[in-house]
Symmetry: C2
Subunit: 161 residues, 2 copies
DNA sequence: GTTTTTTTGTTGACAAGGAAACAAAAATAT
DNA sequence: ATATTTTTGTTTCCTTGTCAACAAAAAAAC
């Protein structure tokens, strides 16, 4: 196995563990709310004039899927919708007081997760941070370029009728 | 945003891009086979006497889900099942020649993905590798310990009737 | 050796999310 | 100004995976 594969595999493993570990506590403290619902609440609480389309883009999900989630949140009175006077098409969301409660619980959980893992991050020097950050930036840029190539290639082979 | 959150966010972003980018080509080259099916084929091709339970554990999925996937693969004649003489309960899988073809295509794709990203990894020095690897190891161990705590806590609160 | 418990694989009911079709509104072209 | 195209949100149908219940086999307890 190459160094490349080893590093990526380790990333993946750490991520899986992190997700698995956090989900347990999440489910316990936020019983009755699905992860995707909490996710939406978090986004709505942190952005101005969020709508179905923004949420979909942020989560790499379809508008249809988000539409269903926000509908459930509206039914539960955790969010409410509003519109601007100059646009009758876009529908924005804001948290209700009950939604804000869920939002706060979630934020506190995140803080506690961060605290739990502090011991690890304290041992990282600034230089080590920089090394990793630089690597991730490089990789990210490289992938952006490759995604761009893909995009162009797709456009270059249009459906002919 | 703390350094901790920043690094994790960058990890997540790189991963999303990687998945997104690779999936495109995968779907193109392995048309007619779902990602989860290919995933199972890969595992079956690389392990001895794989069964539903092993696959489920490897992918963090339920046995039910795996059972359905392997059923589809059996119908497509990409895998076949066999049993040992001393055990009438466990059912193992192996690739058919057709399944082997899919396996090989998948392996080649992986090689090409690796080649595509070589430019990035070539720029990483051995020390930088070590830094990242050490960090990931530490984090991984820390999470294992935390998961253990969770496990114990769960066992300590049995359902009383 | 018999009984109980655990493991293994399968199935059916259910929920989540994607794809596509759609209507209404907005933006753009002409 | 009008016609066309794009954007936005919703709904329906379909696929995938989870959960719970189950039967058969194996393992463990007694």
């Amino acid at each position: 196995m190459s160094q490349q594969e080893k590093i990526l595999e380790e990333f993946r493993s750490v991520f899986n563990k992190l997700v698995w570990l956090n989900r347990g506590e999440m489910e316990e403290k936020l019983k009755g709310h699905k992860p995707s619902e909490v996710h939406c609440i978090e986004y709505i609480g942190k952005h101005v004039d969020p709508n179905v389309t923004r949420l979909a883009e942020a989560f790499y999900m379809t508008r249809g899927a988000i539409s269903k989630i926000t509908k459930k949140l509206l039914d539960k009175k955790l969010i409410e919708s509003y519109q601007g006077p100059e646009n009758k098409k876009e529908i924005y969301f804001r948290l209700t007081p009950q939604g804000r409660e869920v939002f706060d619980i979630h934020e506190n959980l995140h803080r506690s997760f961060r605290g739990r893992d502090d011991v690890v991050f304290e041992k990282i020097s600034d230089e080590q941070y920089k090394t990793m950050s630089r690597f991730l930036d490089m990789y990210s840029q490289h992938l952006d370029a490759e995604i761009n190539k893909q995009g162009i290639r797709l456009e270059e082979s249009p459906i002919v009728e």
